[in-house]
Symmetry: none
Subunit: 244 residues, 2 copies
C-alpha cells in the first residue's frame, strides 16, 4: 500500500505550515516532513492555524533534508508555473492533482508530495531532482495559489487514497422507489381535479409535475410527505364542498 | 448564463476574507458579497492574504443582507456537518462540490455560493432558507475545514464553469427567477396551513419543499403553474370551510 507523506521546503510563514497540517488531517494524512522550516512555536501561528492537527500532525512533524526526500520517496513537486511545451523538461510534462490521484492509486511506492516556499515555489534545481511535477489548473490571469491553499487543493484530490471513511453517510441520495413516485403522481392528479384546475389543462399540469420530480429525484420521505399533504388538501376540499 | 457569486456570512477574521478573495481570482470569479463582515483595512490582514485579488475582488466586495442573497440568487450553503439520513431536511440531501459543478453547468440561474462563520458555519435557520446544501467530503475523524480552505476547495471545483460558459453561451435550462421561486415558497406555506398540515410540522414540510425545488430548478412556467394550483386549492378550502 502506498504511503503518502507531505513535505514543505523552506516555508517562511509558520501559519502556512499550520494550514497544511490541518488540510492533512482533514484529508486523512499524518506524516509531515519539513525542510528548513521556520520556528514552530506552540503558542504561535502554526499551531493557531492547525485546528485539531495541533494535537498530532504538527507536533509529530519531522525535519528532514531535501536529499532524504529524493532518496527515500517517489517524489511529486507541486508548482503553479509550468512549461508550456516539451522543450523544457523541468516543469513538463505535468499532471493535475486529479490525475495524480488516479496515478497513485495503482502505485505501490511511498510517495512524498512536495510543496515549495511561498514566493517562488520550488526552484528549477529542486524540481529537476523530483520524479514528477503536479500543477493545479487555475485562471491564466492569476494561476499562483497561496501555499496553504495549493496544498489544500492537492490533498483534497488525494483524499480517496488516504481517507478511510468520510463524514458523508453512505448512499448519499436515497431516492424513492418508482412505485411510490407513481403513487404521488396519481395523488397529484386527483388533487388537481379537486382543486378545480381546468379539466383541459390537468394532463398538461400532470406532465409539468412529472418533469419537475424527474429532475429532483425525490427521497422516500419527500414522496410520503407530499402525498400526505395533497391527500389532506383534497379531503378538505371535497368534504367542505357545497352540495351541487 | 449563470453568474456565480461568493457570499461570506458573518466572518470574524479578515484574513479569511482575503484568502477567499484570492481563491476567487485563482479560479476565475470576481463577485464577492459580504454579510456582516469584519472591518477590511487596506493595510490589514484581508488585503495581506488576498494576493492580486487585493486589486479588484476585495475592493469591489459588496456588503449585502442575508435576505438579499435569498431573494436574488439560487443559493448553495456550504457546510461540513451534514445530516445522516433523509429525516432532517436542513442539511440533507446535500451535494459534493464536484456534483455541484456538474449541476450548475446546465443551469441558467445566478447562483450564490454561501459560506458561514469560522467556528460554527451556517446556522440551521440560515441553511433552512438556502436552496441547496454542499459539503466537502473529508475525514470522518476531522471533517471541519478552515473557512478559507473550504472555500478554496469549492471554488477549485467550480473552475470549469467559467470556461464552459464561453463555449456554450446559451443557457440550457431556463430557470425561474428567484423572486418567483420565493413567491412559490410563500404560497406553498400558506397552502400547507389551509390544507390542515399540522402546525408543528409546517416548517419542516416547507424545508422539504425547498430542498426538492432546489434540486429541480423549476422553470418560470412551472413556478407559475404550481403557484396557481396551490392558490386555487387554498381558495377552495378557505371558501368552503364551515364557519368555525
Amino acid at each position: 500500500m502506498t504511503e503518502v507523506v507531505v513535505a514543505v521546503v523552506d516555508a517562511e510563514t509558520p501559519g502556512n505550515v499550520g494550514t497544511i497540517a490541518r488540510a492533512m488531517k482533514n484529508f486523512g494524512l499524518s506524516e509531515l516532513k519539513l525542510v528548513d522550516p521556520p520556528p514552530l512555536d506552540p503558542d504561535g501561528e502554526a499551531y493557531g492555524m492547525a485546528g485539531h492537527a495541533r494535537e498530532d500532525v504538527l507536533p509529530a512533524a519531522e525535519e528532514v533534508t531535501f536529499d532524504h526526500l529524493v532518496e527515500r520517496y517517489h517524489t511529486v513537486g507541486c508548482t503553479a508555473i509550468t512549461n508550456e511545451d516539451a522543450t523544457k523538461h523541468v516543469r513538463y510534462p505535468f499532471v493535475t492533482p486529479r490525475e495524480l490521484a488516479d496515478d497513485l492509486r495503482d502505485l505501490a511506492a511511498d510517495t512524498a508530495v512536495v510543496f515549495g516556499r511561498e514566493r517562488v515555489g520550488l526552484t528549477n534545481d529542486e524540481l529537476a531532482r523530483l520524479d514528477r511535477v503536479c500543477s493545479i489548473p487555475a485562471s491564466a490571469d492569476y494561476p499562483v495559489l497561496n501555499l496553504g491553499q495549493a496544498a489544500t487543493v492537492v490533498l483534497y484530490e488525494l483524499r480517496d487514497l488516504t481517507v478511510d471513511r468520510t463524514q458523508h453517510p453512505d448512499g448519499v441520495h436515497d431516492r424513492a422507489d418508482d412505485r411510490a413516485i407513481e403513487g404521488l403522481h396519481d395523488q397529484f392528479a386527483s388533487f388537481l381535479d379537486a382543486a378545480g384546475h381546468p379539466e383541459e389543462k390537468q394532463a398538461k399540469a400532470g406532465r409539468l409535475w412529472r418533469r419537475l420530480l424527474g429532475r429532483a429525484h425525490p427521497t422516500g420521505r419527500e414522496v410520503r410527505t407530499l402525498r400526505g399533504i395533497f391527500r389532506r388538501a383534497e379531503g378538505r376540499i371535497r368534504r367542505n364542498a357545497p352540495e351541487e
